[in-house]
Symmetry: C2
Subunit: 272 residues, 2 copies
Amino acid sequence: MTTAQLIAQIHSKKSFLCIGLDVDLNKIPKHLLDTEDPIFEFNKAIIDATHDLAVSYKPNTAFYEAYGLTGWQSLEKTIRYLNANYPEIFTIADAKRGDIGNTSTMYAKAFLDDLQFDSVTVAPYMGKDSVEPFLQFEDKHAIMLALTSNEGAFDFQTLNTDGKELYRQVLETSVTWKNSERLMYVVGATKAEYFTEVRKIVPDSFLLVPGVGAQGGSLSEVCKYGMNDNVGLLINSSRAIIYASPERDFAEKAREEASKIQQEMSVILSDR
Amino acid sequence: MTTAQLIAQIHSKKSFLCIGLDVDLNKIPKHLLDTEDPIFEFNKAIIDATHDLAVSYKPNTAFYEAYGLTGWQSLEKTIRYLNANYPEIFTIADAKRGDIGNTSTMYAKAFLDDLQFDSVTVAPYMGKDSVEPFLQFEDKHAIMLALTSNEGAFDFQTLNTDGKELYRQVLETSVTWKNSERLMYVVGATKAEYFTEVRKIVPDSFLLVPGVGAQGGSLSEVCKYGMNDNVGLLINSSRAIIYASPERDFAEKAREEASKIQQEMSVILSDR
């Protein structure tokens, strides 16, 4: 998917919501456990109920790998279902991969070519040759960790490296890489002021923002400091939406939660 | 596996060789492609031919994920084969994972509990709560990236952070984490002098060392600067061993290559 197509979808749906499909068998409605593929059935119901309110879905691969072969199968079925039924959706494999060049190439092939995700999240620690293989695919994207929303973000990401925080150095260096126009970045919502610094370095890039809601970040604050002329934000919500109800009405309740966020987003977009 | 068991194995085999099982279907002998599970058949033959010369095997998950479901199945069969037939071997899932706490817990469960690897490699960028979940398992280990062997290592890992390189900061911070005695570290062989710095911070830890051989590192230099009283090194070799021959004699040739390295190691161990 091109960035222009993503932007068009955002304006058409009046939403820049990404729904995280982090499916834990201990948290989904009990009646689904009797089906052949509970994880896929859960995802399918959530997607069908929310696809007009969200522009992106993001399965985190950890939740699928944790179930071994059957989990990997559920992931494959989920991305194929999305691509077949909702081709306008921007899909993200939240995998946080990164390895030496030839190995990153294998990961890139797995997620962007074979599984046909639109994008995959990547970790920056190993530098240029660990990320560039993810940027070789036309109309595909790598979403690199810059400043994450967890407590451990402050262990290294905000260390002072030659006068600037490491995450700023990571951003500045990454824009020099080949095909860097295909890069997007993970920037956590927990401190909205950081978005001002981020936007000085990558004014035009899309930012994937976790940490709104459950983790305490404010949507309006993030938009105030992080939004650009093309919106440039994908706000992720996972648990607050997909686990809105543990009963048979889970998809309906997920839609209600997604709708609340979409309405907030609609107001923000019309106020610009 | 306890560290003491690993050390005992090293002394018994006179080897601290780790063999990387990075299996690419384009590089394995053609006759294996007719078997039901070529990747597993390749691994099984390599393992059977070299298990007395190596103390560790390290499948890199990228090479399995690249083949989707069948690749994941080959990975499962490989680790189960190792655990069933060679329980003395120290197994490493080279996955370079790392995510927010509850998500890292899912990865840790997948590799250390379900698949029963002895260890998994992890990335440090997201800090403490992304790594600690991997340290919760008794007699299991997380092997954290410190200084890698690729070109991109010098993009961020050697940046000056408050007076010391980032990789030193990563090492120093990590030893304060809960169960940090279960941490090992990836330190590339490309610049042997770095081992002196690393040993000042983690004198007792095991180091997993890629980059000897194909990538240009010298075994004797690494041992000179990196070895400690308990050896404390696992030297990885992948392609030079497993692709020693593209013909039917691949396992035999792999054994010859592994044997050359093991003999060097045996001399180094007896000279100490």
